[in-house]
Each structure stands twice: as structure tokens, then as C-alpha cells.
């Protein structure tokens, strides 16, 4: 096999394993997308607008937020600003994803980053816990898989929302959180990490209690990771002197 063919087959393998790794999330995306499609039609959006939102935005929490605000008659600017605030957490997730792929061109990086989600980030960090470098094709596979799932689920909500019973959500949320926490446990490798995690959890709870829920993930992640970095630099400095 020549080198080119070898590389092509590896690219394809990575892409396919990304697609299959993300298939698990159908247990979340199907009920949630179904609900989104149904609620959007109920809110008065057309089928094209609903499908358009899922395919152009591809962000569950933002789309539900937009529906809520549309129902209350909010101005366009308010909705877009609210969506921006809730999406700022993706800056952190994308930073992480960008740091685990090898050096590559701007086109490939844009394509890899374009569809970053909480779930894709979770799979990427799980993968990077065992490998130091993750193939961008693996990540693209994850993202394409999740994207297609989300579109199909939205479409079923649009056209079958009034026929299909809404799937029971009980248990799915718990399994999703269980996955996220398990990945978090695998990412912990120092004792101080546990303290940083508890700190992040506490700050997020306080921000939610004080009405800053929409920016809680971003703010508490930033604050606690910088404190963690401070501890790291302090230990490194006192260790070397």
C-alpha cells in the first residue's frame, strides 16, 4: 500500500469511529430534538423555519431558549444576545478541542470547530484522556454524526410531533450526567484537581442561585480554572526554588 492510500484509509477509519462513538447520544438527541420540533411548530414557526434553525444553529439549549423568548415576544436583539451569552461556554470547549488535534490548515480547523457541542467535547476529552493527540477526522465524525441525529430528530418533531408520544425523559438526563461525571473522573490526575472541581461546582451553584444561570458554566469554569492555574504555578515556583 502506498503512503497516500494508507493515510486515506486511516482518515476514513477515524471518521467512521467518530461517527459510531457519537451514536450513543441518540438516546438524548432523539427525545430532545423531537421535543424541539414539536414545540417550535406549536410556537408558530413554519416547518422550514424550524428545520432551518436546527440546521443553521445546531445548539439545543440555545434553540429552546430562543423558542421561550419568541413566545414571550422578545425583540430579535434580545434573543440573539441571550443565545450569544449561553454559547460563550463553547469558547472553552473549542479551546480544548483545538489543543488536542495536530497542527493543520485553517480550513480543517474551521470545519472541526464549526460543530462543537457539549456532547462532542465530552467524547473528545474522553478520547484525549487515553491519547495525547486526537485525529481531527475522529472529531469531524463525532460532529457529523451528532448533526445528522439532531436534524432527523427535529424533522420527526416537525412532522410527527402530534402523532408520536413524547419520549420519556426520565433517566436519560441522569445517564447523560453520569457520562459527563465519569469523563470528569477520568480527567482528574492530581489531588488538587478534586478541589478545583468542587470549587467549580460550588461557584456554578452560587451563580445559578443568584440568577446568573445562563453564564454559570463559563464564569465558574473560568474562575476555577484560573485558580487551579495559580496553584499550579505556585507549586512549580516553590518546587524549583
Amino acid at each position: 500500500m502506498n503512503i497516500q492510500a494508507y493515510q486515506d484509509s486511516r482518515v476514513l477509519n477515524e471518521f467512521i469511529s467518530g461517527i459510531s462513538a457519537a451514536l450513543f447520544f441518540i438516546i438524548e438527541f432523539l427525545p430532545v430534538g423531537l421535543l424541539f420540533g414539536t414545540l417550535a411548530i406549536d410556537a408558530g414557526l413554519s416547518a422550514a423555519e424550524t428545520a432551518g434553525m436546527s440546521s443553521l444553529v445546531f445548539a439545543g439549549a440555545s434553540q429552546f431558549l430562543a423558542l421561550n423568548l419568541l413566545n414571550t415576544g422578545a425583540a430579535a436583539g434580545t434573543i440573539i444576545l441571550a443565545v450569544f451569552v449561553i454559547n460563550l461556554r463553547h469558547v472553552l470547549m473549542s479551546s480544548f478541542v483545538a489543543s488536542v488535534i495536530p497542527r493543520c490548515g485553517i480550513l480543517q480547523r474551521t470545519v472541526t470547530g464549526a460543530l462543537v457541542t457539549d456532547e462532542g467535547f465530552a467524547l473528545t476529552s474522553q478520547q484525549s484522556a487515553s491519547k495525547t493527540i486526537v485525529s481531527p477526522w475522529f472529531i469531524l465524525g463525532i460532529n457529523v454524526s451528532l448533526y445528522i441525529q439532531w436534524q432527523l430528530a427535529t424533522l420527526s418533531g416537525i412532522y410527527l410531533g402530534n402523532i408520536l408520544p413524547q419520549l420519556q425523559n426520565t433517566g436519560i438526563e441522569a445517564i447523560l450526567y453520569a457520562l459527563f461525571l465519569s469523563i470528569m473522573v477520568l480527567s482528574i490526575c492530581k489531588r488538587t484537581d478534586i478541589i478545583i472541581a468542587l470549587l467549580a461546582a460550588s461557584i456554578a451553584v452560587i451563580l445559578n442561585l443568584t440568577g446568573y444561570g445562563s453564564s454559570a458554566v463559563l464564569a465558574s469554569s473560568l474562575i476555577s480554572s484560573f485558580i487551579g492555574l495559580g496553584v499550579y504555578m505556585w507549586i512549580r515556583k516553590s518546587g524549583s526554588s
Binding site: 443565545v83 463553547h90 483545538a98
Partner: protein
């Protein structure tokens, strides 16, 4: 009405796309300073901690873990499994079994 919705969708698309791709312009390759690497290493830990704790502990604007007792049991079971086995599929299996048990009780 129609144009307004499409304008909102376009605006949402832009403000979702920018935070997603912006870091890819700053970070290219794994050859990063150790301090930045350490910060990035902490991100999955702090992000997941911030994401899952509020919905598990809070109920109607106050701290009430009792309202999510089943979920907390499921999540902690997975965490313990992760700690001992280091295998995500086993964690998911344990979580699913716990969901079945807690919903049957």
C-alpha cells in the same frame, strides 16, 4: 413575521458559530507553553463540574438535592465505577442499571 424569524435564526447562527471557531484561530498544534497546557487540561474537569452540579442540587431556585435523589445515586454510581475501572462503557452500564433499579423502587 417571516423575515423577523429568519433574521433571528441568522443572528443565532452567527453568535453560535463564532464562539465555536474562534479558539481554532488562536490554538494550532500541540506545541503549547506548559502553563497553557495545564489550563487546557483543567477545562474538562471544571466544565463538567459546572455543568452537572446545579441541575442535580437545585430545585425551584433553592438547594434541594432530595428532589433529584435518584439522579444523584445514578451519577455517583457512575463516578465510583469510573474511579475503579477507568472504562466509560462500564460507567454507562452501571448508570443504566441504577436508573432501572431506582425507577423500580
Amino acid at each position: 413575521m417571516d423575515t423577523k424569524i429568519w433574521l433571528i435564526i441568522a443572528g443565532m447562527a452567527v453568535v453560535t458559530f463564532i464562539p465555536r471557531i474562534f479558539p481554532f484561530f488562536l490554538i494550532n498544534g500541540n506545541n503549547l507553553p506548559p502553563v497553557l497546557k495545564e489550563w487546557l487540561r483543567l477545562l474538562p474537569i471544571v466544565i463538567f463540574a459546572s455543568m452537572i452540579t446545579p441541575p442535580l442540587l437545585l430545585n425551584k431556585g433553592s438547594i434541594n438535592p432530595g428532589a433529584h435523589l435518584e439522579e444523584i445515586i445514578v451519577v455517583l454510581t457512575a463516578a465510583v465505577t469510573a474511579y475503579f475501572t477507568k472504562k466509560i462503557p462500564l460507567c454507562l452500564g452501571a448508570a443504566v442499571i441504577m436508573v432501572i433499579i431506582t425507577s423500580a423502587v
